[in-house]
């Protein structure tokens, strides 16, 4: 069997259609990987640049602040989700959802959604990255290589000769199909391995990605065989295979997404932003007790320091910011639970669509899926909560506003490291 495969590999490599398809696959792969790597490098540079600028900015701003309220108000903090080593292969949610924020100690929900008002969290497939290539374009190349495999031999009156000559009879065409697919797999595997090595991806992860891509190729090989063994003409087989590709790669994901969106309603980010801002804006016109009473229910330990004596005090200002967050919290929870529910439902839809499943698994492996985004947003929220816990004691009084105390200002650290 191995010697047959070797012979068919050599034979396939002599065929112009195989060489052209291989060249196209190789070219697309290099392009997709380069585009992905450049995007990830851009994101890394952006993070590094913003982190350095934030440190500088904080130094400058904190130097001249007279009180903790001003210090909290004018100090910005960078939160971000660093790309994983494999992110260049599957940009996933990093292409659609925010992976960095510039936060300060105002109401956090509004700041999170300022960059996310289009609520694009369920966009299907983004730019032409390796995951898109493997899940959507690769099946077309497999179809291109296999739709005419037997029909061409019949058309050129060679079918009986080949079957009668081969020790495997008609089985020779399965070996040929395997050989062509192996060449195609090599055309994407070699550049991927090069980029993975350069990008610091572990061998295990690289092999898993290639196993997934091979599995997807194998699926389409079987589909092609099921269709072409029916003695169809090449054009008919191509039409059927392209219809199947369209059904599995486009119709099922789109219909599934539409159905899931109808079944699982989620508030959009803009609505959350407005709800929170309206609450904050309303607070200016309400009696201070309307803000402070519910605030102190959350922070009873600050009750002794909560008296508002002047028309404006920072502690009241930050209290109504937090009340804005509390008002928007149910909506925010609905959004994130909805996103998780939609993502989970799309996982079921993916069982009907191997291309969608391949794309999902690749983004999971690259940690660029919806789950990773939600974990990052929670990470940003947690950091914001640390800021509040840092500033509240100074704002309300028990802790003095001093250089020494300010030197302990929380600095953001990504909750999810590169290799997690």
């Amino acid at each position: 069997m191995l010697s047959d495969l070797g012979r068919e590999l050599r034979f396939a490599w002599r065929e112009p259609v195989v060489r052209w398809t291989t060249l196209i696959a190789f070219g697309f792969t290099v392009f997709a990987l380069t585009a992905g790597l450049l995007e990830v490098r851009n994101q890394e540079r952006e993070i590094a640049g913003l982190a350095a600028a934030t440190v500088e900015d904080q130094k400058l701003v904190l130097d001249g602040q007279p009180d903790p309220g001003s210090a909290a108000y004018y100090t910005f903090h960078l939160t971000y989700d660093p790309p994983s080593a494999l992110a260049f292969a599957a940009l996933g949610s990093r292409d659609e959802l925010s992976w960095k924020h510039r936060l300060r100690m105002l109401a956090v929900e509004g700041q999170i959604y300022e960059t996310d008002t289009d609520n694009s969290e369920l966009s299907l497939i983004g730019q032409l990255d390796f995951a898109y290539l493997v899940s959507i374009l690769l099946p077309l190349l497999v179809i291109g290589l296999l739709f005419d495999l037997e029909a061409r031999e019949r058309r050129e009156s060679r079918y009986e000769l080949v079957c009668a000559t081969s020790a495997h009879g008609r089985g020779i065409f399965l070996v040929r199909a395997l050989a062509r697919c192996l060449i195609l797999a090599a055309a994407i595997a070699l550049p991927f391995l090069g980029f993975a090595l350069y990008g610091g991806v572990s061998i295990g992860d690289s092999l898993l990605v290639l196993a997934l891509a091979s599995g997807h190729i194998l699926f389409w090989l079987l589909v092609c065989r099921l269709v072409t063994v029916r003695n169809l003409e090449g054009a008919t087989a191509a039409l059927i295979l392209l219809s199947l590709w369209f059904l599995l790669s486009v119709v099922v994901p789109v219909v599934g997404k539409t159905g899931v969106e109808r079944m699982v309603a989620v508030p959009d980010g803009g609505h959350i932003l407005l709800t929170q801002r309206e609450k904050v804006n309303d607070a200016w016109d309400l009696p201070k007790s309307a803000t402070m009473d519910p605030f102190l229910k959350t922070y009873p330990e600050l009750t002794d320091y909560a008296e508002i004596k002047r028309q404006f005090e920072w502690k009241w200002y930050y209290a109504f910011q937090e009340m804005g967050d509390q008002t928007a919290a149910p909506l925010s929870t609905d959004l994130y639970e909805g996103m998780r529910a939609r993502d989970g439902a799309m996982g079921w839809v993916a069982l009907l669509s191997p291309p969608l499943m391949t794309h999902r698994v690749l983004t999971q492996m690259a940690q660029t899926d919806v789950d990773r985004h939600l974990r990052y947003v929670q990470c940003a929220r947690d950091f914001h909560a640390r800021l509040r816990h840092f500033f509240y004691p100074m704002l309300f009084g028990p802790k003095p506003f001093s250089k020494e105390n300010m030197s302990e200002l929380p600095q953001f650290e990504p909750c999810i490291d590169r290799e997690s």
Partner: protein
């Protein structure tokens, strides 16, 4: 007749509700050349493909060297070299590459010298052997296909319209090759339109008309079958 190698036993083949072969029986002895003649649609190629297992008879059975085609197709194909009608080897490969490829398909390996000998046997010019078949004439391609059949060294050769499209010189060369193979013990079953060519090489000729065997001619000792007799019967059957 010498030891029987090919047997068609009351072969009936249906295509849809149409019967394309009706109770066709014949046998071919070792080293004999048997030609099946007939007009278009007479069922000649169907009869031949039945011996390769590509067409399954609805009744009757075909045997090669005592092996049932239906039950032992793999072994039957190992013993049979087949030359299809419109020989269409791979045009992006050279003659040598085609031979190497097809021989390796059968699991047979032949040295470069043996392959050259095969090409010598069919008189393919040495200077074209490494050229792609896309540059060959039909006759040259046919020679390569015949070389393949020779190099396989199988006891049985099945030929579908082997001289179709060949010029007279190439037909003579082919008939000469066939005669040599036959003398070497290879059993040949060929289907053809070419009455005169068949009479030159075949020891026995069957005449097929609308799926039925309507005539069987046999050469006398060392002699040839009379082309006039075959032609006359053929013409009579056609006019019915």
């Amino acid at each position: 007749m010498s030891e029987t190698v090919l047997v068609a036993e009351e072969l009936c083949v249906d295509r849809g509700d149409r019967r394309v072969l009706e109770n066709v029986s014949f046998s071919v002895g070792r080293g004999d050349v048997f030609a099946l003649l007939g007009g278009n649609g007479a069922g000649k190629s169907t009869a031949l493909l039945t011996f390769l297992g590509f067409i399954h008879p609805s009744y009757g059975e075909a045997y090669v060297n005592g092996l049932s085609v239906k039950d032992r197709i793999r072994e039957v194909r190992e013993q049979t070299a087949y030359l299809p009608e419109a020989t269409s080897l791979y045009t992006h490969l050279s003659a040598r590459e085609n031979l190497q490829y097809f021989l390796s398909l059968t699991g047979v390996t032949r040295s470069a010298q043996e392959i050259d000998q095969g090409l010598d046997d069919v008189s393919l010019a040495a200077d074209v052997r490494d050229r792609r078949l896309s540059t060959y004439s039909k006759g040259m391609r046919q020679k390569v296909a015949i070389a393949l059949a020779i190099l396989r060294r199988t006891p049985v050769l099945l030929l579908d319209e082997p001289t179709s499209g060949l010029d007279p010189v190439a037909i003579d060369e082919f008939n000469s090759i066939l005669g040599g193979l036959s003398q070497g013990g290879t059993t040949v079953f060929m289907v053809t339109h070419d009455v005169y060519g068949a009479c030159q090489v075949a020891q026995r000729i069957g005449l097929l008309q609308h799926g039925r065997m309507v005539g069987l001619f046999e050469a006398g000792d060392g002699g040839q079958i009379s082309a006039e007799a075959v032609h006359k019967t053929f013409a009579e059957q056609q006019s019915r």
